[in-house]
Symmetry: C2
Subunit: 223 residues, 2 copies
DNA sequence: CGACTCCTTGAGCAGCTTCAATCGATGTGG
DNA sequence: CCACATCGATTGAAGCTGCTCAAGGAGTCG
């Protein structure tokens, strides 16, 4: 599920069970920068990210933007509320998704396993959003950035010798809007982590965690 | 659902359908200050608030607290994630709840209508949490307080002549932890709204909205 | 009446934002 | 191939918002 505080590494569930292939799963490709759906669209499908990364955003009347989540492979996105999408979904890189008819969520559409998997994903999503609320409500800028890096590297990074490395597909502004900060503050926090020897930056988009214990400590914050 | 940004006044759904009475619904009373469940508890039931108000909270290691939501009559609370509760639930006043076995959420437990209603509630909850994220990430202190008052009065207040009035069962500290602010800031915002003639305070716990249009405007924020 | 709790108000400060300039990477045309 | 334009990231300086710390007020309950 999404990028949130809880860094448990869930296995990527494959909802694409044999039974549901014919009835439910319509695979699709989405070029970087293209939208999968917009806020207000009627929900016909829920989606599972198979490859790539998407960004879910919501806008406020006056142009302020909140990044709700980043969707990585395995994540289910597009849950309806009142039959409509409540966020925009855009691919950050070329992305592959699987579409499931909404009926699969509502009553299974003849596939009880798929129904249960989607329900579980929705319940996980509630918890994930609560984590996000907790972070935005209670953590400092430095703690938020550390939390973000900690989760995204442990969940989606790859080992690079003893360290963990990840290419960030989102820009600083996306991270800022995800964390409720400004790009400048995010950038300054990155720099501070680099100067403290906690992370290394290889260009702006690729980071290596040098001291994951320190990063975790920083993400929790002072006592 | 819960107190969030979206102020639509949903009718209080009665999940207590004739069919489910015997099998699922165990009514219960909860004295003010008593816990319904704690974070980490295994989920045996999900609950619907029938009367009263509950408070859902999550703690951070270092003692910081986030109020996730306030549960009013009609709200469904206690959705599991990984089979466990991810928040504490405490009654703010004497409260009546109905308990539904977890199986009712998972597969209906013989009552498809109940199953669908619980599923819909879970999906609404995702959207509500996203609203909360949006508020915490993007809104100023004054905007958050105005948003809170706007939602809680329109959804749970009662008409008092041409105005709308509500008794707040939660203390300033609860509101602060809900909005990601301090009690002092919440108190100052209340005072500012009172001095601006937008609200009137009758004691600390009872507020009357004098100019709901102005409150709505303030909740949206400057353009 | 006194003790307690919660709310309010004030003063000073810290953290984050705002505004602005520079840097660095990427791409384009001459 | 290099000059230049462009866009995102970084860094700096200054200001404002909201927090911290502290005191006083108001309501409640023994």
């Amino acid at each position: 599920m999404y990028v949130t505080l809880s860094a448990e590494n869930r296995p990527i569930q494959d909802l694409h069970s044999a039974q549901s292939v014919a009835r439910n799963a319509l695979p699709a490709r989405l070029k970087a920068g293209k939208h999968l759906y917009h806020e207000g669209d009627e929900v016909e499908y829920v989606y599972q990210v198979v490859g790539g990364v998407v960004r879910l955003t919501r806008m406020l009347e006056n142009g302020r933007r909140q990044v709700i989540a980043f969707g990585y492979p395995g994540d289910i996105i597009g849950f309806p509320a009142d039959g409509c999408h409540h966020a925009d979904c855009e691919a950050l890189v070329d992305t592959t998704i699987r579409a499931y008819r909404r009926a699969a969520l509502d009553h299974g559409d003849g596939d009880p396993d798929l129904h249960m998997a989607l329900l579980q994903a929705a319940l996980q999503e509630i918890s994930a959003m609560q984590d996000h609320v907790m972070m935005l409500g209670q953590k400092s800028a430095a703690e938020r950035v550390a939390s973000f890096l900690n989760v995204i590297t442990s969940r989606h990074g790859e080992n690079q010798g003893v360290h963990r490395r990840i290419a960030l597909p989102m820009c600083r502004n996306d991270i800022a809007d995800f964390l409720g900060l400004t790009t400048e503050t995010v950038s300054r926090s990155f720099t501070a982590l680099r100067k403290a020897g906690v992370i290394a930056l290889d260009g702006a988009q690729t980071i290596t965690v040098l001291r994951s214990d320190a990063l975790l400590e920083l993400s929790r914050g002072a006592d």
